[in-house]
């Protein structure tokens, strides 16, 4: 079991450019979550999918952020027109069942917007 795989590990973009982050959940897990981690805010929920369907995107900044899960083996988080305040570690997690489920996190993508 390779765990949750996130690529790239690091990404540097210029202000106004687009960034696409990839996540491959653990095989067989039905839910995928995206979080953003900063020193000030800690772990902020962005969005999640269950069985590929979007369930809750209440944490997503509406205008520039979007997420998709085209198949059960990967999800993407896209940030358009990146801004310096988007700089953070973006963590993807997957889980396999229920409300008491354990989240398994990937290593994260560190996004730096210059």
């Amino acid at each position: 079991n390779a765990g949750v795989i996130q690529t790239p590990r690091h990404k540097v973009t210029g202000k106004g450019q687009e960034a696409t982050l990839w996540c491959e959940p653990i095989s067989g897990h039905s839910a995928v979550f995206w979080y953003r981690q900063t020193i000030v805010q800690g772990l902020e929920f962005l969005t999640y999918f269950r069985n590929q369907a979007p369930i809750d995107d209440s944490g997503m900044p509406k205008e520039r952020f979007s997420a998709q899960m085209p198949n059960q083996s990967h999800s993407t988080l896209k940030i358009q027109s990146t801004q310096p305040q988007d700089s953070a570690v973006y963590l993807c997690a997957s889980s396999d069942r229920g409300s008491a489920e354990t989240l398994y996190f990937g290593s994260g993508t560190r996004l730096t917007v210059l």
Partner: protein
């Protein structure tokens, strides 16, 4: 809305001393699930322990916590801290049928010799 409060941003202590990290939560739902996640330096968060049973002590790797619905608390404790316990600890909340896990702001624990 639902929220989790961790009052300590940083806890520093000497190896061998007890440690307690505070966690309180707010939710309108009567059946919350509470979690503690730990994140060591350059690693991703991983589950430390979880509970959804009122007044029942949960233990793992020397740590323990008890969910008290009467006080909306889920404090994390360990009787004797080790150097390897230095990490960032997150308390988190979810309720049955609810949305995604909501995390507190985290408490950094630094244990020195």
């Amino acid at each position: 809305g639902d929220s989790v409060t961790q009052t300590e941003g940083l806890v520093t202590l000497t190896e061998g001393l007890p440690v307690m990290l505070n966690c309180t939560y707010q939710t309108i739902y009567s059946n919350p699930f509470l979690f503690w996640y730990v994140q060591h330096l350059n690693e991703s968060p991983r589950l430390l322990l979880k509970s959804f049973t009122d007044n029942k002590r949960t233990e793992h790797q020397g740590f323990h916590a008890t969910l008290h619905k009467s006080s909306s608390s889920f404090h994390l404790q360990k009787s004797s801290a080790q150097l390897s316990d230095s990490a960032l600890y997150y308390c988190a909340l979810r309720y049955q049928g609810g949305r995604a896990l909501i995390f507190g702001t985290g408490t950094t624990v630094s244990v020195s010799p």
